[in-house]
Symmetry: C2
């Protein structure tokens, strides 16, 4: 791994400096060693290369090296190589800069042997032959000289096709912007809609995805929690007039976390609200590809007018591939797309062209659909295990699961002691109350994922959860 | 590419519906065809699969298919396959949704045969064996279940090493956050420093990189243009007290576009300003690896106190690899890093884990340093061509170039007619006046890149530029 050193050291000499040239060089090198810019054992440039670089004679450099060899800062290594004396590591502990390990910034439940916190799909089978081929092809091509702010045209086409086939949403490719995922897409939209001096009002489901509250807060928006029940967002009393939010973010296909699918009447009411209030609706379509039982209602976006549309599809491959993929999309009507593209032009497209090419290739090959189908089978089977695990427990209710990769189990007792008991026995889950922005409506329970663990750990984790629920 | 269709259509049937089940299915399918969710030629699910999905008998589905076959919406294809009638394409032009090509959102100079607008490195030789191997390895590994918000630990280590070797900036890996590039890094920093209700004041060089003005503006900050001359930012009259910006963004190594390297006295004055005003300095180190003549001054960050530090390094691989790579970094003292990580935890890490792994592999292999050295040779040679092209022209001044991949040529005449004349002859460049936020200081000229073109196009482009300068 260690390569011949180039002359990239911040060394300078000056004819105006009263010190002799060799002295200038040795002083600077000594400083670089003392401040650990040059580290014990590291090679120095050859005297020839450094002389050429500094525009001094080779003898000047050799004189400086000799001085430092004599002082013990440097040591001759094999051939004509000169390195920083490896013994300095022990000799000068005072100047040592700690090689600290990067902090992992996880919540402590991350330490649990069985991590059932929600949000992680199964990734055991993603890196198959088609996946590797897609990335191999993507990396073998040179970069385009002028990447498009909206995203690679081929990927936008592939996403348009994906949306049409999987969700019944018909958008041409030029109404799609590539994002690095759901949260980045929402942030982009909020920046595009922001107006100077007036904070944006954003309505969110309560309970709901915490990040749908946190992203607007970070971007200075005012978050309005909206009442949400087991069927989804309650549309009876949506704020109108001057109190109306400019934007409502909802999960109509599969409310998070409660699991409801928004009834058609509420869908129409929501669209009506948008028309009457000149508001926009973000349809967070985070896992609707993973529905594995009963027929889904069509996407809210498919009920919208394609040109005048008020529904923006917030899409991601986080649940079908992995949150670490870093590729998602926004699909919207032209008037919204134009504002998104103006922001992209200033802030840049965050997704690597290599990743965009690979994802386009993977989508075009049809392999994502096959992978998704395999995952649906896996998750449906695991749902059976979850339901069975809690069967017959009094005071415990497993919410219906029509898709996705998380489960909600409501209990009658207190939530915090149950979470603590599970964690003591090595199983990390989330508390149901965590999903409310304000106070909960009195429910307590646990939310956990069954995607990103092995069969064995899931079985062990479920046994622990059943046992702590039974004791509670 | 066409695969057997899964049942992902948004079809539903209801026992409460007064219509017979086959009628419900045929009505819905007709609607899907009419709205082009199902397109001419596309296969339908097998009757068996759809029956299973809808929980109806297979005969019910077959009855619906037969009806639509009779109406001409569907057609029997080979085997037992049923497809949407391909003839519908011609028969129903009214319902055709235009398959529009994605807009390319480039400024019109993008149409020029020889595009010398600045900012594009040479990418002909990036996709070599080491590059491909790095991505191959990165794609062959499964995803980590819980990606780190700050970035992959291995990449943060590799960047820390890169900064130390190439720039003399010593930061442990936990003081580095991975970004998707310079603009994304600046945006992240601005979000992290924002305070509710009070717009951030950001000082920028004038003239300077347009995106260093545009990014703060997009994020609601107040941009303060700061006087900048041929040596870089003028530090005599930096605003202090209540008028002081919280942040100054500067390019001390290689001022953009004028090319100066900030003298040591101004560097110290800038650090002093930061201490006295409790301000921060962003050192935009966009191309300092590409310095190819004379020794660089050390990075401003290397003069800063490592723990109490007020200098934030804004780094990118856009100029050494490509703007399309989508990988960069921020390096800062712990108190700034903690704020950046809090934002990352809410907004997410935008860079794909595959890209992070590949970049770590590529850095660790030493290949980026070798590639950068090759590019330095290439750009130095091309600089010679640029200088030669304008030699002896009266009223024309080529600015000194100590590195990088763009040139500034000042002229005495008017700028706009010269740009237009060059574009008419097929060569796109930028105007020097474009880099001032306010009015220019009276200079006019052209700024152009010599990285991202072939030798042949560069020679042809230079001949045109010389000729239009001579005529002006």
């Amino acid at each position: 791994m260690r390569t011949a050193p180039e002359v990239t050291l911040g060394l300078t000499v000056s004819r105006q400096d009263p010190r002799a040239l060799p002295r200038q060089i040795s002083d600077e090198l000594r400083h670089l060693v003392a401040t650990r810019v040059l580290r014990p054992g590291e090679p120095l440039p050859s005297s020839r290369a450094l002389a050429h670089h500094l525009k001094v004679s080779r003898g000047t450099v050799l004189a400086a090296y000799d001085q430092l060899l004599a002082e013990g800062y440097l040591r001759a290594a094999g051939g004509s190589r000169t390195v920083v004396n490896p013994a300095l590591d022990a000799a000068h502990p005072a100047i040592r800069v700690e090689k600290t390990r990067p902090k992992e910034h996880r919540p402590t439940p991350g330490e649990a042997p069985i991590d059932l916190r929600p949000g992680r799909p199964n990734v055991d089978r993603i890196a198959g032959a088609q996946w590797r081929a897609a990335w191999r092809k993507a990396a073998a091509t040179s970069f385009d000289s002028a990447p498009s702010d909206a995203g690679l045209p081929r990927l936008r086409n592939a996403v348009a096709d994906h949306l049409r086939r999987m969700r019944g949403v018909v958008r041409p490719a030029d109404q799609i912007v590539i994002t690095s995922g759901g949260r980045e897409g929402l942030a982009l939209l909020l920046i595009a809609l922001a107006e100077a001096g007036r904070p944006l009002k954003v309505g969110v489901e309560d309970p709901g995805f915490p990040s749908l509250r946190l992203v607007p807060q970070r971007l200075g928006a005012q978050v309005m929690p909206l009442t949400t029940d087991d069927l989804g967002l309650v549309t009876d009393n949506l704020p109108t007039g001057e109190h109306a939010p400019q934007l409502i973010v909802a999960t109509p296909s599969h409310q998070y976390p409660l699991g409801g699918s928004l009834p058609i009447g509420r869908r129409l009411a929501l669209l009506e609200w948008a028309g009457a209030s000149s508001g926009l609706i973000v349809e967070d379509d985070y896992d609707s590809e993973l529905r594995y039982s009963s027929s889904p209602l069509p996407a809210l976006a498919s009920l919208d007018h394609p040109q005048e549309g008020r529904v923006i599809t917030l899409g991601t491959f986080a649940k079908t591939v992995s949150p670490g993929l870093g590729v998602g999309y926004l699909a919207a009507a032209p008037r919204v797309i134009d504002r998104l593209l103006a922001v992209r032009a200033d802030l840049g497209q965050p997704v690597s062209l290599v990743a965009q090419r690979a994802m386009a290739e993977y989508l075009d090959s049809g392999e994502l659909r096959r992978h998704t189908q395999r995952m649906r089978h896996l998750y449906r089977r695991r749902r059976g295990l979850v339901v069975a695990a809690f069967a017959g427990l009094p005071g415990v209710r497993v919410y219906p699961m029509d898709g996705g990769l998380h489960a909600v189990v409501e209990i009658t007792g207190a939530e915090a002691p149950l979470l603590a008991a599970a964690l003591r026995r090595g199983v990390a889950v989330s508390g149901l109350s965590h999903y409310w922005g304000k106070a909960t409506d009195g429910r307590s329970g646990i939310v956990f994922g069954f995607g990103g663990v092995s069969d064995q750990n899931l079985a062990a984790g479920l046994a622990v959860l059943r046992s702590v629920c039974a004791e509670a």
